[in-house]
């Protein structure tokens, strides 16, 4: 038969109470899963309190701090004593930028030294060195690559004619050509280099273009560290603003064991190594 007024009221109250409980649980759950990004002041408080803080946390805080400033100069430091040559940075870079086979932004240079039984392995991760005096920028005939104010050597994929003169001029082998060879599902997913969406399709840039590491500029714009920095298992890679004298990287590059690659060429790299 038809429902009584009491039944209807019971259902109504039950529904309201149930909904409120569900909402409360959902709110509680979302509060639990929400990732709290460190704030610059948090990192600084922790540093003052404990004298030590995870470098990733500190660098991310410093990065966000630097983004608030009118100007900044990004640099990278790699502690070669901590680098284990795991290639995690190379792989994360490839995933982040959807790089096809043969296109590597952050190569790991391994060189065997010595003779048996006294042997060793030199491991040098090599991104683009974002030189302050970049030979690649000087030779590009159409201004498709330039040194930006924040220190990153950028590319305009839609302007690059693919002459590869910059590859020839780069003394670090840091520039690569995208030959357009097999495009798998992963490689056809969009990448967001230079904060634009790039879908790798035949006859479309960045295929046939010269490509290079850009310190994950798109991630930096969103307040995130470059992919290679956050995936470094040994905390061997550091990133930050050179113009901030209190930043971790500014501290590191004043160490006596700091070096740059091929210093004699006068390219003034923005990637430093601790040996």
């Amino acid at each position: 038969m038809s429902e009584t007024r009491r039944d209807v009221l019971k259902k109504l109250v039950g529904g309201v109470v149930g909904g409120a409980v569900t909402l409360a649980i959902a709110k509680n759950t979302s509060a639990q899963t929400k990732i709290e990004h460190p704030k610059p002041e948090d990192a600084q408080k922790m540093y003052k309190k404990y004298g030590k803080v995870d470098p990733i946390m500190r660098m991310e805080a410093e990065l966000k701090d630097a983004l608030k400033r009118p100007s900044r100069r990004w640099i990278m430091v790699t502690d070669l004593r901590k680098c284990v040559g795991c290639y995690a940075c190379t792989v994360s870079c490839m995933v982040e930028n959807k790089l096809p086979p043969g296109v590597i932004y952050r190569a790991i240079m391994e060189e065997e030294v010595g003779k048996y039984p006294v042997v060793g392995l030199n491991i040098i991760p090599r991104p683009c060195l974002q030189c302050d005096n970049p030979p690649c920028v000087r030779v590009c005939p159409v201004k498709a690559t330039w040194k930006s104010a924040d220190g990153i050597v950028e590319m305009d994929y839609l302007k690059c004619v693919g002459c590869r003169y910059c590859i020839v001029a780069c003394p670090y082998g840091a520039r690569v050509v995208d030959p357009g060879r097999p495009i798998s599902l992963t490689e056809s997913l969009p990448s967001y280099e230079y904060s634009k969406e790039w879908i790798r399709k035949p006859h479309q840039s960045p295929i046939n273009n010269v490509r290079k590491c850009h310190f994950c500029k798109h991630r930096i714009a969103d307040g995130m560290l470059p992919a290679c920095v956050v995936t470094c298992v040994g905390r061997a890679t550091y990133f930050g603003d050179k113009m901030n004298p209190d930043s971790l990287v500014s501290e590191l590059i004043t160490k006596p064991n700091v070096m740059v690659l091929k210093k004699g060429l006068g390219t003034k790299p923005a990637v430093f190594y601790l040996t």
Partner: protein
């Protein structure tokens, strides 16, 4: 009659080469540049770039020969003037064709006009090429129709200066690359001009000999030019090699690695034997030895330009366990087809022009008719 048959055969060869090249270009545009080319990030410039360099140096050389011929021995040289300048025009266009299909985005070359970077020699070269091509085209028509006019002389000087500017800038493209010591150096632009003079005089000698008795008067000044060219290139090559091979700077070891090829092909076969042939042709009066020596020069200079470009990349910028100690490169069939098409373009158009008789200067035409 025999000459006409040879020209017809050359036209057919040009057509065949052109068809093969069109197929290559079709593959570049359909399959993609990277899929059909063997150039890589390690060897970014290959046989197409070396062919481009060779052909534009030949073009420069032809302009030089035309200039020196008209200045030093105008009467003896005049019969082959339009031929040599026509070859200068065709070879530069053939070379630019080889270059155009080597770059990744040929459709974007317009950026050279809209957004030039004047700190790059490659940007300057683009503008110099424009001036050079206009001037030699003009020079061809002036040699053909008004060889003795003042304008002809002015344009000839202009073409000569623009040839120096254009092709020394081409040398500077390599000369400023500090990253590759094999290329680096202020000598390279001058070396390129010397090679250009040698190649141009060699090609002009072949053309003068094959163009019949009416052009043989030019063989004598051309013989001198070939001899002088050999001497200059010999001196510059030897000194470049000595400086390179004795250097202890990393990257210069390429000179040692390529020493055998340098002495055997670059010096012995490419310069000493042709010089001996030129000498014998003078002493014994055997005119045909000059074109033979010239053909050897052209072949070995083509090989040397290929070695110059490709050998520069032999040693990787960074040594690693996963990079080969010596990087190798073999051109793909598509690259070869485009190279063949570039030469076919020159051969085809030159043979057609010769067959229809538009390469004779005005006064020679009058004498023949």
């Amino acid at each position: 009659m025999a000459r006409k048959i040879i020209l017809l055969l050359l036209i057919l060869a040009g057509i065949a080469g052109g068809i093969w090249g069109i197929n290559g270009v079709y593959q570049v545009f359909t399959k993609g540049h990277g899929a059909v080319m063997n150039t890589t990030s390690e060897v970014p410039w290959g046989i197409q770039i070396s062919t481009y360099i060779f052909l534009v140096l030949v073009s420069t050389g032809c302009t030089f020969v035309n200039f020196f011929g008209h200045v030093a021995t105008p009467k003896a040289y005049a019969p082959i003037g339009p031929r040599v300048i026509a070859l200068a025009l065709l070879t530069v266009l053939g070379g630019l064709g080889a270059l155009l299909f080597e770059i990744g985005w040929p459709t974007r070359t317009l950026h050279w006009l809209t957004s030039p970077n004047f700190s790059s020699p490659m940007a300057w070269m683009f503008y110099f090429y424009g001036i050079y091509i206009v001037l030699i085209t003009l020079e061809y028509f002036l040699l053909k129709f008004a060889p003795h006019s003042v304008l002809s002389k002015v344009v000839m000087w202009g073409a000569f200066i623009s040839a120096i500017l254009t092709h020394s800038t081409l040398g500077a493209i390599f000369g400023i690359v500090e990253a590759i010591p094999y290329y680096y150096g202020s000598l390279v632009p001058i070396f390129f001009l010397a090679v250009a003079f040698l190649c141009g005089s060699a090609l002009a000698s072949v053309v003068a000999y094959l163009s019949g008795v009416k052009c043989w008067s030019a063989l004598q000044p051309l013989r001198t030019m070939v001899g002088v060219g050999i001497g200059i290139v010999f001196a510059l090559s030897i000194w470049r090699f000595i400086v390179g091979s004795t250097s202890v700077v990393e990257g210069y070891e390429i000179f040692q690695m390529t020493a055998q090829k340098f002495w055997n092909v670059g010096i012995l076969i490419g310069l000493i034997i042709p010089f001996a042939l030129v000498l014998v042709s003078v002493v014994k009066g055997l005119g045909w030895l000059l074109p033979v020596g010239s053909i050897i020069i052209l072949i070995t200079q083509f090989m040397s330009r290929y070695s110059f470009v490709v050998d520069g990349f032999k040693i990787p910028q960074f040594k690693s366990v996963w990079t080969p100690e010596v990087i190798t490169y073999t051109p793909s069939s598509v690259e070869i087809s485009i190279v063949v098409a570039s030469f076919a373009f020159v051969v085809f158009l030159y043979s057609i022009a010769d067959l229809i008789g538009i390469l004779e200067p005005k006064h020679i035409e009058g004498e023949v008719s």
